[in-house]
Amino acid sequence: MRAAALTGFVLVLAGCHPAVVPAIPANYLRVDIDSSPLSLDPRYATDAVSARIDELLFDSLLRLDQNGRFTGDLAASFEWRSPTALVFHLRPGVRLSDGRLLTARDVKYTYDSVLDPASLSPKRGGMEELAGVDAPDDSTVILRTRRPYAPALELGLLNVVPADTPAGAGASRTPLGSGPFRLAGFVRDEWVILARNPYHPYAPGAVPGVAFKVVPDPTVCALELLEGSAQFTENDLPPALLGYLRDRPRLTVSQSPGTSYQYLQFNFRDPRLRDLRVRQAIAMAIDRPALVRSLLYGTARVASGMLAPENWAYTGAVRQYPYDPAAARRMLDRAGYRAGADGLRFTLVYKTTQGEERMLLAQALAAMLRQVGIGLRIRSYEWPTFYSDIQRGNFDLTSLAWIGITDPHHYFLVFDSAMIPPRGLNRGDYVNPRMDALLAQGDATIDPNQRRAIYAAVQQLAAEDLPYVSLWWQDNVAVMASRVGGFKPYPNGSLRSLASVHLGAEPLEAAVR
């Protein structure tokens, strides 16, 4: 009787809750994502998932192409009018998803609302050099910088919202955009559904919509792909699963070079790590090809520096540190760190997060460093605690990744002495006046060829000084149903090409089921 009542109660709950599974047309592309976007307003979106979806909803002045180069998006063309003024000429006829024309006024409004301190936009911190935005007519936008500022092109990557979109912390709704899709539904932690922007042209046969489903567990994501309830995912599956998925006839695995950069960071506040010989010894003690082979199942390239070869400013002509534990031991001896009775010279604290792959990396590094007499005390924390420690410089060693590096200006953010926290990302307290000078020069030099030479020197100096040991550049790995066609990978993991993806006929077996 009571069990029956309880059963009834559950049935009522199950039957009466609001329709949380929206009706998704069968011809929509179903994409699994590992977390819900935090905000679909591009002025407030800081997480990777939001950024990926925003690319499909909004346009920006510029966009990165498949080779990682800046190309016009809203802008038909752009040029430097002076070292402090970048002019963009907008494409005519761009319309928002409600049919209104998008003009320079909307672009100016978007930038102004980010620059307004009252809006508390997280994008404002990256726009300190932007003095203002002008819209002299409906099709011209001028970004004015406070000083000659070559990375200004990066400022053109902000997605544009219409001029009547409210800003502020409470403005959490999703604005209209002029991108290939419009938002058709959003249930936090469950679905984001995009339908075509009727005013944005697209190729015949391309999918009419994309349904993003939040699937936090990677194993379940793989099962969805196998079952066919998901047709696409990118960079969400652990490398260990990829070998199995590659062998499935109804799935395709696309692996392409990526720009996400994994590094080992030293804290220069520690006197042992301030010694270049110790840093070099640690670099030589790490077998990076083995890490890529064993931990990442070959889904990465061993890195020589922060900029991947796809970046226009990349140089490979930097000092390398091939795996050589014997040389590492000699280097540590020379630095005066002799092994004690327990075989250890000294012990460092390595901080990391609690993810399985993070822990495996920590253990592999500990085993490698043990070979040269350095003990590694691994401390793992949940992300906010770990992040707080790293920001406060409360670590000896840690490993993190930079995602989405576009301009070599990133070196300024992480290696300039002015960027030591709380303001900036130089968490390891690295200071070299020569580096500071080069970075200032790199920011102020507009000519790309001169800039390339400056950043070649920056990369060489970073490889000499070793504030980071470069570990790897992570490949972008997309797993998709074999009937998904037209996907083009971008080095930064952008999903922009989903706008032109098409779905072939469903395999007979799946159709029957």
């Binding site: 949380v20 599974v21 508390l120 911190g125 949940e382 906010p384 992040y387």
Partner: protein
């Protein structure tokens, strides 16, 4: 009985205060800054201070605590820092999903435990007992993290009978409920078996058999009721644990419940949302225990008379 209910309801007040205080203290003491989580490390000092002021995080902790309690007294759980949504609304959206899952888990536990426990307790040491207890051992031993995907592979991928994950109608509920309920079913079945074995030797059971009832009839009609008190106690405690322990199942099955909400709130150091979730979990747990106490009275007239 009415007095008893009132006393238990009044006891909720200090529990709520204690939970609110502990959650507030713990969340604010652990490292992590919601403002940096929102604005990023590139944020200017002025922006950081501006947002800190807007969120009231620049106030002394004692002031923030009093403001939080004041809000609670007025039924206001505050506003989520990360989504700007009222906490009560966010919880109201997710609470039914978690209740549904926990309730379904409990139903599964009861549906499996009672037949298994009865069959095993009716003939201890026999083949049925061995099979039932082996099944129970499996239920206890297999963690949710493994059982969930295993059920998905069998019932969704291979047989195609049930949806893989997500929240929808009844069909969506079956696999997560099985995942949630199997361990509890196993524990309950084992305890019921043990309880029945003890009851079997009681005088009233001998009388029942003497009246000509079969062993199974005697057990179900007379033994089960007497063996039920520890089972109700166990189910009551575990029902609360099902509610709060649904987090892993919610993650595996992409179930939009409060467990996932709490995890993401803690990750973002969204103090009001995390505090609200923990408070609701705690109050639900206590309420379930009150209901359990009341259920004793229904099962055992001696308790009612007391």
């Amino acid at each position: 009985m009415i007095d008893f209910i009132w006393r238990r309801i009044l006891a909720l007040v200090p529990v709520a205060l204690g939970v609110a205080t502990l959650t507030f203290a713990l969340l604010h003491l652990v490292p992590g800054d919601p403002v940096i989580a929102m604005l990023g490390e590139n944020a200017t000092a002025a922006d950081v201070e501006g947002l800190r002021h807007q969120l009231g995080l620049d106030q002394p902790l004692a002031v923030q605590y009093v403001a939080y309690l004041d809000g609670l007294l007025h039924g206001d759980l505050g506003q989520s820092i990360s989504t700007h949504q009222p906490v009560s609304r966010a919880i109201a959206q997710r609470f039914p999903a978690t209740m549904e899952l926990a309730g379904a888990g409990l139903v599964v536990a009861i549906l499996f435990a009672f037949p298994l426990g009865l069959l095993a307790g009716a003939r201890p040491g026999g083949a049925i007992d061995f099979s039932a207890m082996s099944f129970a051992l499996f239920g206890i031993s297999v963690p949710h993290l493994y059982l969930g995907p295993l059920l998905m592979i069998v019932f969704s991928l291979e047989l195609g009978w049930l949806p893989l994950n997500g929240r929808g109608g009844l069909a969506h509920l079956v696999l997560p409920a099985l995942t949630m309920g199997m361990a509890l079913a196993a524990v309950t079945a084992r305890m019921l078996r043990q309880s029945l074995i003890q009851v079997r030797e009681a005088d009233f059971m001998r009388t029942a058999r003497g009246k000509g009832l079969s062993e199974l009839s005697a057990l179900t009609r007379h033994g089960l009721r007497n063996a039920l008190t520890p089972i109700i106690s166990l189910l009551g405690l575990q029902a609360g644990a099902l509610l709060t322990g649904s987090i892993i199942t919610e993650v595996i099955f992409s179930w939009p419940g409060m467990g996932r909400l709490l995890i993401s709130a803690i990750g973002a150091r969204d103090y009001p949302l995390a505090q609200g979730c923990v408070l609701v979990f705690a109050l639900t747990y206590v309420t379930v225990n009150i209901v359990t106490d009341l259920a004793y009275g229904l099962a055992d007239p001696r308790v009612r008379r007391q």
